[in-house]
């Protein structure tokens, strides 16, 4: 499919500008009219280590990183450690080239910086290149950049060489550089870009290979955006003006965007001593009448467990983010996984209640970030937005129009002083904040500083004024009322489903997933149907309260279902069975937990082996198969 899509991988070391170079190039490809999707792979260290970013570009919509790739730009790792082969981490200097060969497609192109990389250090490099029909272009990118006085601009030289080889006009890249670079470095970069471009055209046969830029056109303006961007913008548009947090990968991305933007909006951001404080501050700000959020990743979210329960018990609206990474414990900080699902659903003591939403795409991240605030404030309940390193960090193009929506600063069910005067009060003047019999379980609140609104918010069980109470009748009334909110939220969410259905409605087989794997699953479904299978998919976003009816209908409509998730223990499949109470015999699992997200082909292969051939003896790739009950 080399004539239909370009999957360009740029590799090097952390700190070598891989991220910014690739972001600019992705935007250039988008501006040329293509749909784009990026995938980041990076280690948990500041300098050096094997890092790459892939950009997939095609004239058709792209929803995943794709399968393998077809163009490698291997730069040197300026910060490589342990150059001896016997060292624990191996010879890092050659990794930008050596580590990236396995996934390069047949007929692919390799450009490597021969000023820093020596291909002869890689065993059988020439043989492999010949076997796979790779087209190899060793270029002295460092030397070229150095001649212009800026060795660090070898990335730009690599982009110039790429453009020459794939037949891309430089103007898109030049325009972007003008937008993104300060005057001082702009001129030498433009020069290096052009020199590299011309040199490759002059000295190499650029038509010896088939990896060319596709052509496309967008009907409406597109933006290049990550899930983290979308979540932050959703919060801002919903009137969130307070964030508290503590840095942790990958949640730090949203935290950073909010910290940079909130002051411009007269909002407040707080970096605090730990995640317990972070969540408690968000609760405190919301209690005082401001729309507030906090968040973290696995370990940090564990510390938020108690404030989460406090928010539930005191019915304080709050939105918490959980950006999953591979666990347990510190796990693999920069690698995606979905294995915090059960942690987020069940953490915190008692029969505590919360809402958990797991968006599947960048656009859904924006929509569901807004939805999280709407539900939190309308029902006075904590809402957790669950996503992962993949959705948070990958960039894709989305239509600008998707964000052209009205802001919503509504606090919902918060009384004015006038309204408070008509509410029930105790003889001592305390407002009945926690009334027993109310519609949907939601009882209107007052805010500190309002006249006529005094009450006690308490994590202890409490009576209507908030006073601590262990009366059995009150206890049952309050627990039942709070639980009622979940049912009301389910009914509310059912008015406009956030689940994503894909493929022919009358398909024989189903694939189910949640969160960030949705796009990859949908591409696999397309491939399977093209190959003559009859498959549809369901990407579930509502984790709690669970959309049981919709999921039940999906499972009922097919013969068998493959559940795809990035966990080792099949947590999502377990959640489905817990909520539906049956269908164990119909659900098998395809799991992946090696630190990399699924590629569509892995799901295609998994489906064919598991569903069609009835079991996977020798799992392809690094995926794991768990059969349905009774199989």
């Amino acid at each position: 499919m080399t004539d239909e899509e370009l999957i360009w991988r740029i590799s090097g070391g952390s700190g070598d500008g891989i991220a910014s170079t690739s972001q600019n190039f992705a935007k250039a490809l988008m501006r040329s009219g293509l749909d784009v999707f990026t995938h980041r792979h990076y280690p948990s260290r500041i300098r050096g280590g094997h890092t790459y970013t892939e950009i997939r570009a095609a004239s058709e919509p792209v929803k995943s990183r794709g399968d393998g790739y077809n163009f490698l730009l291997a730069l040197g790792d300026s910060f490589a450690r342990n150059p001896q082969e016997e060292a624990l981490y191996g010879n890092e200097e050659i990794k930008p080239l050596s580590e990236n060969l396995d996934e390069l497609r047949e007929g692919g192109v390799i450009v490597y910086d021969e000023g820093l990389l020596d291909a002869s250090e890689i065993p059988d490099f020439d043989e492999r290149a010949e076997e796979n029909g790779w087209h190899v272009y060793p270029l002295d990118l460092r030397g070229l950049a150095r001649e212009q006085g800026r060795e660090v601009m070898r990335n730009t030289a690599g982009v110039g060489a790429t453009c020459a080889l794939i037949g891309m006009e430089l103007s898109y890249v030049e325009d972007l550089m003008r937008d993104a670079m300060p005057e001082k470095i702009l001129e030498p970069n433009l020069e290096i870009l052009n020199i590299a471009y011309e040199q490759v055209l002059d000295e190499h046969d650029v038509d010896a290979h088939d990896v060319k830029i596709p052509t496309g056109e967008h009907e409406e303006e597109q933006l290049l955006m990550s899930g983290s961007d979308a979540i932050a913008y959703g919060a801002i548009d919903e009137g969130c003006r307070f964030i508290s947090g503590y840095p942790m990968t990958p949640w730090t991305e949203v935290f950073t965007i909010m910290c940079q933007n909130l002051p411009k909006l007269g909002g407040i951001s707080e970096q605090v001593e730990d995640e317990i404080a972070a969540a408690a501050l968000a609760v405190g700000a919301s209690h005082a009448g401001v729309k507030a959020m906090s968040g973290s990743s696995g370990g940090g979210f564990a510390l938020m467990s108690e404030p989460l329960g406090l928010a539930e018990m005191t019915e304080t609206p709050v939105v918490l983010l959980e950006a999953m990474r591979a666990g347990p414990s510190t796990g693999m900080p920069t690698k995606p996984e979905q294995s915090d699902l059960e942690h987020v659903l069940y953490t915190s003591q008692g029969d505590s209640q919360r809402v958990v939403l797991a968006p599947g795409t960048v656009e859904e991240a924006y929509e569901q970030s807004r939805l999280a605030f709407r539900i939190a404030y309308e029902y006075q309940i904590p809402v957790v937005l669950l996503y992962d390193q993949k959705l948070g960090g990958e960039l894709m193009n989305v239509p600008r129009a998707a964000f052209d929506q009205d802001p919503n600063p509504d606090l919902y069910h918060t009384l004015t002083e006038e309204e408070l005067a008509d509410q029930p009060h105790s003889p001592d003047g305390k407002f009945h904040r926690f009334q027993h019999d109310v519609e949907n379980g939601v009882t209107p609140r007052s805010l500190p500083g309002q006249k006529g609104g005094r009450y006690l918010a308490s994590g202890n069980e409490h009576d209507p004024t908030g006073h601590i109470s262990e009366s059995p009748d009150n206890r049952v009334a309050q627990i039942d009322r709070r639980a009622q909110k979940l049912a009301a939220i389910r009914a509310d969410l059912d008015t406009e489903s956030t689940q994503s259905h894909h493929g022919p409605e009358d398909a024989d087989y189903g694939i189910m997933t949640f969160g960030s794997q949705q796009g990859t699953v949908e591409e696999a479904v397309d491939v399977l149907n093209d190959a003559g299978h009859s498959v549809k998919s369901l990407g579930v976003s509502d984790m709690l309260p669970f959309p049981s009816e919709e999921v039940e209908a999906f499972i009922e409509s097919v013969d068998e279902v493959l559940v795809v998730e990035m966990t080792a223990s099949g947590q999502f499949r377990g959640l489905v069975q817990k909520n539906l109470g049956r269908h164990g015999e119909k659900l098998s699992s395809l799991l992946k937990y090696n630190g990399n997200p699924f590629e569509p082909a892995e799901i295609v292969d998994g489906f064919e082996a598991v569903i069609i051939e009835d079991g996977m003896d020798d799992p392809a790739h690094q995926t794991t198969f768990v059969p349905a009950a009774g199989d």
Binding site: G267, G284, H287, V290, R400, Q405, P407, P409, G449, Q450
Partner: protein, 312 residues
């Protein structure tokens, strides 16, 4: 017009707004020092002109955490050790509120010690009262962070091997701009110190010695006490952090030798509060953020208009 008309209201405050009799009756033991904190607070608040509806009292968990069950202000009974982060955010969200946080020595100096240090460091404009009885009371008498070395309890059967934590010194080093110690047996001083602490524009830490007649019978009733500001025996400048540190050290050493020293130890009127610092940096609005949600004329910003161009 403010949506929070109880804040900064120009009116005389009737002492009855903080009724001396309380209903429901506190569940504290007879003779408990906690009664004195409640009483001193009920006297101090009307004296500084703060009404119940413009005051938010955030408490932790323990006997002390029930303080806001018996005070008719807005209250937030939070988590063990977490009154400060909740209180800090409420103050940032609506700076017009009079925010007071309170908890015990286990709550503030043990499980919540990190928040104590950072709240002092940031110098939030609030009062933090720690009921220090040198014991875990509600859980029935375990050794606490301020229990003296050698203190025996069911969980430290051979006696504590740990030095007690020195709360005054810690508050000073962390950056609190007002540090005082008072005692339940000294109601006049307690009231005066609380008045000063509430009026102070910064983080005011009051270590309040509250005898526990049930679980800490060994400790005396914190009598006789000496006010270091009034006594001829002591001479130090409470605006000088070096002299204050020395006086605190002496006080904290003396407590377990039978000498109860109290008073104002450190007062820095010049240091800007956290809110002032943030506003100076442009990181906090001049108008209380909580008011904005009630302003019908406010044009709420959209990401579409402000932030999307860089993604195009």
């Amino acid at each position: 017009m403010s949506a929070f008309s109880a804040i900064n209201e120009e009116r005389e405050i009737d002492r009855d707004e903080y009724p001396p009799g309380v209903e429901p009756q506190p569940t504290w033991c007879p003779g408990c020092g906690d009664f004195s904190v409640l009483k001193a607070l009920k006297q101090a608040l009307p004296e500084v002109g703060r009404t119940p509806e413009e005051t938010l009292l955030c408490t932790g968990i323990g006997c002390s955490g029930k303080l806001n069950s018996y005070l008719d202000t807005y209250g937030f009974h939070t988590l063990h050790g977490r009154s400060l982060p909740v209180a800090r955010a409420a103050k940032l969200a609506n700076p017009g509120l009079e925010v007071i946080a309170a908890g015990g020595d286990g709550d503030g100096y043990g499980i919540g010690a990190g928040h104590f240090i950072h709240s002092a460091r940031e110098n939030h404009d609030m009062t933090y009262i720690v009921f220090n009885n040198e014991i875990f009371g509600l859980t029935k008498g375990q050794t606490s962070p301020t229990s003296p070395k050698g203190h025996k309890s069911k969980t430290q059967p051979s006696g504590s091997a740990k030095q007690p934590l020195k709360p005054l010194s810690l508050a000073l080093k962390a950056g609190a701009s007002y540090v005082a110690r008072t005692a339940a047996v000294n109601p006049n001083q307690a009231k005066e110190i609380l008045i000063e602490a509430i009026e102070h524009d910064g983080f005011a830490h009051v270590d309040f010695l509250t005898q526990c007649p049930t679980w800490n019978k060994d400790a005396r009733q914190y009598v006789p006490y000496i006010d270091v500001n009034d006594s001829d025996e002591y001479d130090f400048d409470k605006t000088d952090s070096v002299e204050a540190a020395q006086m605190m050290h002496e006080t904290e050493e003396a407590l377990h030798e039978g000498k109860v020293l109290t008073g104002r130890y450190y007062v820095d009127e010049d240091r800007p509060s956290y809110g002032q610092e943030k506003r100076a940096l442009g990181e906090m609005p001049e108008e209380p953020l909580a008011e904005r949600y009630w302003d019908d004329d406010y044009e709420w910003e959209r990401s579409h208009d402000l932030f999307l161009d860089k993604h195009a």
